[in-house]
């Protein structure tokens, strides 16, 4: 199955009450793909990522991870997954960095980072700790390792969340605006970390407002509009002028 796609999404739909947020989204990610997901606020980017790792269960469509279909069913008006085991396994291969960080408030930063490797992947604690220290070093908050999330600045929390996701060594990473709370210097640092990951062949799906990243690091740009994929292509195609007028209007503000 080594030639299976790491991630393949078919025709995903999702509504909140009567409000249809995703109206049928399909997306294939090949090994090593770095896909930038662009779109206006409220266009459903976060919801899309949350559907991929089943934090929201889609109302329709299919999700395939590493050639394996994620199964769910509808029963008595509720949607439930078929096998919790399957989901857990898949999720531990899908890293996620949340828009609102979601660090565990009762653990220090270091504990947050080693939690998954130690207790989900059951790896030796000493190894995990050493790796965690390296990761924290890399994102520049090694000195905060013993602080609790509530005592960190926004940017520090965001970097801790990135370190936590990376510590799981997932096959596919889902980033929800991983640099929103960072200053340009750190944005640079974090983007460098992500670029290195990309070069190592990690598959990534990145919701971002950083056009620089979309243009230079990613090999595909997907533009969402009102719950649909408006246009997508290589950065050259998209930024070169082949994309839809809506996308040009969207990035027009950036070019200013």
């Amino acid at each position: 199955m080594s030639d299976a796609l790491p991630l393949s999404v078919r025709n995903i739909r999702k509504s909140f009450g009567r409000h249809e947020v995703l109206k049928g989204i399909s997306l294939d990610a090949r090994q090593g793909d770095v896909i930038s997901l662009l779109g206006a606020s409220g266009s459903g980017k976060s919801t899309f990522l949350r559907c991929i790792n089943l934090l929201e269960i889609a109302n329709g469509g299919e999700i395939w991870v590493d050639g394996e279909q994620v199964r769910w069913h509808h029963k008595a008006g509720r949607t439930r997954v078929d096998s919790q085991k399957q989901i857990d396994r898949i999720r531990s291969n899908l890293g996620m960095v949340f828009q609102s960080f979601n660090l565990w408030s009762h653990m220090t930063i270091l504990e947050n980072v080693i939690e998954g490797p130690v207790h989900v992947l059951k790896r030796p604690k000493a190894d995990c700790r050493a790796e965690a220290e390296t990761l924290l070093e890399k994102v520049g908050i090694a000195d905060k390792r013993n602080a609790y999330p509530a005592h960190l600045s926004g940017g520090q929390q965001q970097r801790a969340a990135i370190a936590r996701a990376l510590a799981m060594k997932p096959k596919v990473m889902l980033f929800d605006e991983p640099t929103s709370a960072l200053d340009p210097e750190l944005v640079g640092d974090v983007l460098r970390v992500m670029r290195a990951l990309a070069e190592d062949g990690m598959t990534m799906l990145v919701v971002t407002h950083e056009m620089g990243f979309a243009r230079t690091v990613s090999n595909r740009v997907v533009f969402m509009k009102e719950g649909l994929i408006d246009s997508s292509g290589t950065p050259d195609e998209m930024f070169g002028g082949a994309a839809s007028p809506a996308f040009h209007q969207f990035i027009g503000h950036f070019e200013r």
């Binding site: 089943l54 269960i57 439930r80 919790q84 989901i87």
Partner: protein, 241 residues
């Protein structure tokens, strides 16, 4: 002796007395909850105050009223209360015994106990408010009273409802201890009926069922309030996936 005859409303039935007692229990508990809300709010304010003496006072109140057996507090207020009233009457020239009515003494005692529990509930609810939201109120210069009324109180109420449901349950059961004052509430009436007819199980089960009736009624009220208060909150799912 057919048991439904004993529980019924006929000439030998205890039905009417039991219903009356149930209503009495409801009334005492409601009065106690109201007294407790007023006193409890003051105690909460003291406990959360930054002034050390007030803080100590508040903490002492909750420690004593939670730590001392309820029966003793009821005794103290029922007997101690009337000696205070009597002494006061003497001062005004009335010579003789003046008692606190059982209802008043009972609901006051249970109310003061309830206040200690309510204070803990309110304190917990206050601490559950996101600090950022209070900061946002500070940042627009909302004065203390406004903050209290507009931001803190509504959220304290929201967070306190489940805890208040518990306090209501406690007070409901504490009210059973007021039987020592001779007030014909549900527990005492069940016991009197049991002793007078020697049908112990019948009347204890009947009493238990009536308490459950009160509980289910009050649960419904609290659930309604909780649903209303949580309109603005996302429902967290702890189940699968």
């Amino acid at each position: 002796m057919a048991s439904f005859e004993l529980l019924g409303f006929g000439p030998t039935g205890w039905g009417a007395l039991l219903i009356g007692a149930t209503l009495m229990t409801l009334a005492v508990t409601a009065a106690a909850l109201a007294i407790g809300a007023v006193v409890g709010t003051a105690v909460t304010a003291a406990k959360l105050s930054s002034r050390v003496p007030l803080k100590i006072l508040g903490n002492a109140y909750t420690t004593v009223f939670r730590g001392v057996p309820e029966l003793l507090i009821i005794y103290l207020i029922y007997f101690g209360g009337s000696s205070v009233v009597t002494a006061f009457g003497k001062m005004l020239g009335y010579d003789g015994f003046l008692g606190l009515p059982s209802f008043l003494a009972g609901s006051l005692a249970v109310g003061l106990i309830s206040a200690a529990y309510q204070a803990e509930v309110y304190r917990g609810a206050y601490l559950a408010i996101a600090t950022g939201e209070i900061e946002a109120a500070l940042a627009i210069g909302m004065p203390r009273a406004g903050r209290l009324r507009r931001i803190i109180m509504p959220q304290v109420c929201r967070f306190a409802i489940p805890g208040l449901g518990n306090v209501w349950q406690l007070s409901l059961k504490d009210s059973a201890l007021i039987s020592v004052t001779g007030l014909a509430e549900l527990m005492r009436t069940s016991q009197v009926a049991a002793g007078s007819t020697r049908q112990y199980f019948l009347f204890f089960i009947a009493g238990g069922c009536l308490y459950l009736l009160l509980t289910s009624f009050s649960d419904q009220v609290f659930n309604w309030f909780e649903r209303r208060a949580n309109r603005s909150m996302p429902t967290a799912t702890i189940g699968k996936a």
